[in-house]
Structure formats: C-alpha cells, structure tokens
Amino acid sequence: MIFSDRTALILKLLGVSALAGYPLVGSEFYIELVAKVLILAIFAMSLDLLVGFGGLVSLGHAAFFGIAAYTVALISPEYDPANLWLVLPASVLAAGLAALAIGLLVLRTKGIYFIMVTLAFTQMAFYLFHDTALGGGSDGIYLNFRPEPRVGEWMPFDLAEGHQLYYFILAALVAVYVLLGFVLRSPFGRVLVGIKSNEHRMRSMGYSTFHYKLGAFVLAGALAGLAGFLYAVLFGFVTPELLSWHESGHVLMMVILGGMGSPIGAMLGAGSMVALEEGFSLLTKHWQLLMGLVILAVVLFLPGGLIALPARLRGLFARGDHHD
C-alpha cells in the first residue's frame, strides 16, 4: 500500500467532500454528468467484484444494469410517481434474480467459455427488450416521473429536484463502497480471492466454489441493478442499448482503466473514462479512436491501472535517486 491507512482515509473524505460540494458550484449540465459518473462508478465497482476479486471476466454485466432500469420504467405508473421504497428494491431484486438464473448456467463454464456465454446471455436480454412489445422496441420507454420516497404522508426528500437526486446517488455510491469493504474482508470475500488465485485448491480444502461464485455473481448483479435503477431515474428513459454488449465492454474497460481488484480503482476508472470521452469528443468526432489508444496505453504501460500510478511513480523516482 502506497498510502498509510490514515492518509487513505483523509483522501477518501476529501473526495467525498469534493463530490458533496460540487452541486454548490457546478452548472446543471455538469452536475448531471457527475451524477452519471457516480452511477457508472457503482456499476464498475459491482463488476470489479467479479473480475478483480473473483477472477470472473463477465462480458454480460450490462444485462443486470439494464434489467433493473427497465424494471423501474415498466412498473412505474404512467401518470403518477411510483413509491421509491417499492420500485428501488423491486428493481434491485429483479437484477439479482436474473443474475441468479443466469449465474446458475454460466458459472458452470470457465475462462474463454465463461466470457462467451455471458456475452450470449446479455445479447438474449438485449433482444428481449429490443424485439418484443415488452420494452417498447428500439425506442425504449420513458419514465415520466421520478419515484417519490413517500412514507405515508411524509416525504423525507424529493428526487424530482436535481440536487437532491445527486445527493441520493452519492449516498448510494458511499453505501456500496462501504458494503464492498465489509464483504471483501469477510470470510466470503477471502474465499473469493482464494478462488481467483487457485480454485482447484479451494475445492480440495472443502469449499464448494460454485456456490461462492454464484453468491458473488448475484451480489454483483444486484449492485449493477442499483446502478441501472439510478440511471433510469436520472435520465428518465431506458433503451435496449443499456443492455448491449457495448455497455458490458464499456464498464469492463472502466475496471481495467482504473485497476482491477480495487473498488477505488473502479471508481477512478469510471470517472476518467467519462472525462476522457467528454474531452475527446470536443476535439474530434473520431473520439473513440483516441479512447482506444488510451486503453491500449494503460494496458501496455500501466498494467495495474490508474490506481497503481502512485506506486509506479514512486518506483520511478526511487530508481532515479538511486542512479544519482
């Protein structure tokens, strides 16, 4: 670890404070953009649980994001706001159940086959919403009203108001980060990392690794669902593109860019990905080409991702000193 625990905690608190303070100074456009980054950060952290900790490279993670987004859009009434405390758990549950069903099948495969079957399932989910009457076809569907956090007559806050929605998303991000922190140091989390390192040995020591991987798959799917739910609420519409394999690849690139095996890295990956996309798209309409070059450069020259950058720099300077 390059930073001491205390420095790391201070950096995290500074990060949260900066994010919390941003709506006070930012314009509406950028507040929405940062809110989108926060949602993608939750999405990326959920995938990192599979890729970075469980060693399960899924190319179908967008399916759970999209299923939750469609769930809130489909179950909300057309002319009234839905109750947040109903549609939020329902969306997350739908994504978790989909992950359970898909996980039961795909986790029987390994390596490249796992990548291919997760890809196949996300394509099935894509066409389910794209080609059937269920999801309004390629146009998607609108969510006309943001859900209300109503408890009886009482409304503790109001998501229709942009800043409050922003803080709700930020709180969700912090909650997911804290939750993952607990999970990763729990016996379950330790087993997951063991499976990534040597699944065969884990089995011979008595761990039914399939069930652990299934647990991780469901948890990651449910958290991706939370991100998808927030996305639908923020933008007010859902399209089949949310479930496309492009999205799955997109979030995988965020994880790789930020550095696998670190929730902070996943967040950094989501932030820098969006920042680079926005920056490059101002420069040229062929921004995806530049994006590709950046990803290539990171994979080649910074295999640990952005999160490994401080340690790499320190290493470089230390070597420099040595030569002097």
Binding site: S186, P187, F188, G189, R190, R201, M202, R203, S204, G206
Partner: protein, 252 residues
C-alpha cells in the same frame, strides 16, 4: 483393534480405452501409515485422485467411516475429513503463509453468510492457522509470501494446509519430492507423529523413507494391485522384486 477410516473396494478408472486403475482395493486405518508404491505410470496419482474425489471412479466403491462416499465431490470429501496434498505444489503463491493456512482453517467453519464479520477476527480460525504453522515447522515465516519460499518450505506449507482442515485421513502425494535430506528427515518425523491420530496414505518415490515409516505397503504396477503387506513381506515378495524393486527404471 484398528479403526478402518477409508476403504476403497475394487475401484477402476478408465480414460477412453486406457485403464489407469483396475480393481484396486485399499484400506486406510487410523494409526497406520499406508504407502503406495509403483513405477512411473503405475496409476498412483489416479488412485489418490479417486480417493480424494478429484476424479470420479468408473467402477467400484469407496467408503469412509462406514458410509458410502463414491458419489461425493472433492469439497464434500474434504469437509467430512479427507484431506490431500499434491505432487506438484498447489498453494496460493501470492498470499502469505499465514493466509494460506488461515483459508484452509476457515474451510471448517466457513460462515459464508456473515458478510459483516471480519475474517481476521475469527479467533478459532486464527488459532488453528497458528497451530498448524508450528506443527509443520514454519514458525517465523507467517508473513512470507508463499510463492517466494524455497521448494521444501512450500512442501511443508502444503502439509500445514492439509492439517488445518482437521482431516482424519491424509492423502499425501509425494510430500518429500524435491526436498533436501535434512528437510526430508524432518518431514518423515512429522509423518510419524501425524500417523498416531490419523490414517495416512503416502505416495512416495523415496524407498528408504517408505520402508522406514510405512506400516503397510501396496504396490501398483500397470494400474493393478501387485502386492500388499508389511514392509518385510513386500521386501521378500519375488513378484515385487521382479516388477521393479531391483530395476533401474525406478527413481530412487
């Protein structure tokens, strides 16, 4: 009166047209060290893999403490008390020695649902990990990254991890392979101690060690059981001598 822990009766394993083990029967008793000998390709690893559940049997039955376990998976067999080590070191090379043993110990009480419990606060698991590290002679190396240790130390770690699972039956695939003579004699001492309370199956090429430590020896040749008996009986067995004891092909 000895207590038979693990009994294989007539187990056979076929890979396509090749029969790697044919009608092999072995009984492992508590307090006894049973050695499995045989030239390369005799089917020793296949045999141990069938006992541990890494390989399914094509035919035959396996019983553990009187209960049929032929259909149980490797994790299930580990949980009821059958532990194994591997011929090629099979550890978590990126983890510390302590975490290797701690993970092994955690397998006894997995507590997978306790997502808000710090794994490092489970005192029973930590205690077990410390105890097996001491038992395998790895004290002082708890914080070493396992993959950076010497081959011999990694073999010791391999044994420590099996011990951490509280196994009653130890299936040890060449624990002495690649060890220096001092390390090897320490390991033989350890095996001798472990035998008292457990049943051990030892696959080993080191003949001196086998004859010194084994209570029973079973000889496999071409996947078939050639002979089984006390070290003295095996030494005197003409067939065994002809099969390979005198042969150069055998690795001493």
């Amino acid at each position: 009166m000895t207590e038979a822990l693990l009994e294989a009766r007539g187990v056979t394993r076929r890979f396509g047209g090749l029969t790697a083990n044919e009608n092999v029967s072995i009984t492992l008793e508590r307090g006894k060290l049973h050695a499995l000998l045989g030239p390369n390709g005799a089917g020793k690893s296949t045999c141990i893999n069938m006992l541990s559940g890494d390989l399914a049997v094509s035919d035959g039955h396996i019983h553990y403490k009187g209960r049929e376990i032929t259909g149980l998976s490797a994790p299930q067999r580990s949980r009821i008390g059958i532990g194994r080590s591997y011929q090629r070191t099979n550890i978590f090379p990126g983890f510390t020695v302590f975490e290797n043993c701690r993970l092994a110990a955690q397998s006894r009480r997995q507590r997978a649902w306790r997502l808000f419990t710090n794994a490092l606060s489970l005192e029973d698991t930590l205690e077990k990990a410390r105890a097996v590290i001491a038992e395998a002679g790895l004290e002082g190396r708890e914080d070493r990254i396992a993959g950076t240790m010497s081959h011999g130390e990694q073999r010791q770690l391999e044994i420590a991890m099996v011990l951490a699972t509280d196994a009653d039956v130890l299936l040890l695939d060449e624990p002495l392979a690649g060890m220096g003579s001092e390390e090897a004699s320490k390991m033989v001492e350890l095996l001798d101690r472990l035998r008292r309370t457990r049943a051990i199956l030892l696959v080993e090429h080191d003949m001196d060690a086998v004859f010194a430590v084994a209570d029973t020896i079973t000889v496999l040749v071409n996947g078939q059981l050639l002979a089984s008996g006390s070290p003295a009986e095996i030494r005197a067995n003409i067939e065994v001598q002809q099969a390979y004891l005198g042969e150069e092909a055998f690795h001493v």
